[in-house]
């Protein structure tokens, strides 16, 4: 119901309604930063650091535009580039470019003391998961002598 009301409000206000969930990098960025809805995001509109702005403004036009953020990073080609055209075959990587399947570039070895850290924990409140900044950070060393700890490092992307 609430989603329908918002949808109706957007139609009444004018301009084409935005997709409920941005499906492309441009849609995401435009929704967040293109304040005047002119199809380009200036540094003033962007507001975040200049280095990231320059990276997004791939053609250095002075504004982030849709063609700047088309395509994704290609681990075989290196660097972001526009998506493949239909029918175009992917480039084959050379043996030197492919990472070894048994890569072991670890800074830590078995038997090394596990580096200590004390980090904030995500605490669930029903369906909402929020970070409690005031909560005491969880220290890895607090588990010593209790149980082994499996650490799973990663991010959403």
């Amino acid at each position: 119901m609430m989603i329908e009301a918002v949808w109706l409000a957007l139609i009444l206000v004018g301009d084409a309604p935005e997709p409920e969930v941005p499906a492309t990098k441009w849609e995401f960025l435009a929704r967040k930063y293109d304040v005047d809805r002119d199809g380009r995001i200036t540094a003033e509109e962007y507001g975040r650091d200049a280095t990231t702005f320059a990276r997004l403004d791939r053609d250095s036009s002075g504004a982030i535009e849709p063609e700047d953020v088309v395509g994704s990073w290609n681990p075989r080609g290196g660097g972001a580039r526009p998506g493949r055209r239909e029918g175009e075959r992917p480039e084959r990587s050379t043996r030197a470019e492919r990472p070894a399947r048994t890569e072991r570039s670890s800074a830590l070895a078995i038997g090394d003391p596990a580096p200590e850290f004390a980090l904030n924990e995500m605490i669930a409140f029903g369906d909402a998961l929020t970070e409690l900044g005031a909560a005491k950070p969880v220290a890895l060393s607090s588990f010593r002598g209790d149980r082994p700890v499996a650490l799973i490092f990663g991010s959403y992307t």
């Binding site: 904030n120 990663g154 959403y156 992307t157």
Partner: protein, 134 residues
């Protein structure tokens, strides 16, 4: 990973440590949107990272795994050479019992499980109730 937690969670604490993004849409190796990956900007504050971590935890249905969030100095990610992703097992003695390869190719839950089994076996007291042992 949830399967490992279901199997060994009584004996091993599983901690997800949320670190800086592997493929932020505004990063050097951008994914997101058209390629089916989530659209995420590299968080620039702890609040932003907390929000993205919450999205991740919910979207990937990670409950009941506990999740810690690396600080904005990326202290844990750096100390463990963990970027973009990596698995470790720390023994009760506070020492590294298993250090997985760097992801994605080195990220192996199967190796972690083997390490868990080895560690639990090594921790098992000699006077087993079944009277085993020479």
């Amino acid at each position: 990973m949830k399967e490992l937690h279901a199997e060994y969670g009584d004996d091993v604490l599983f901690l997800v440590v949320y670190i800086h993004e592997a493929h932020a849409l505004d990063g050097a190796r951008p994914f997101g949107g058209e390629d089916g990956h989530p659209l995420v900007e590299e968080p620039q504050t702890s609040e932003e990272r907390g929000e993205v971590a919450a999205r991740c935890h919910s979207s990937l249905d990670m409950a009941p795994l506990r999740m810690l969030i690396d600080d904005m100095e990326n202290t844990a990610a750096t100390a463990y050479a963990a970027h973009p992703d990596r698995l470790y097992l720390v023994g009760r003695d506070g020492k590294i019992a298993y250090a997985g390869g760097r992801g994605p190719f080195g990220f192996s839950p199967e190796e972690l499980e083997t390490a868990i089994l080895d560690l639990l076996e090594a921790d098992r007291p000699d006077d087993r109730p079944d009277g085993g042992g020479e």
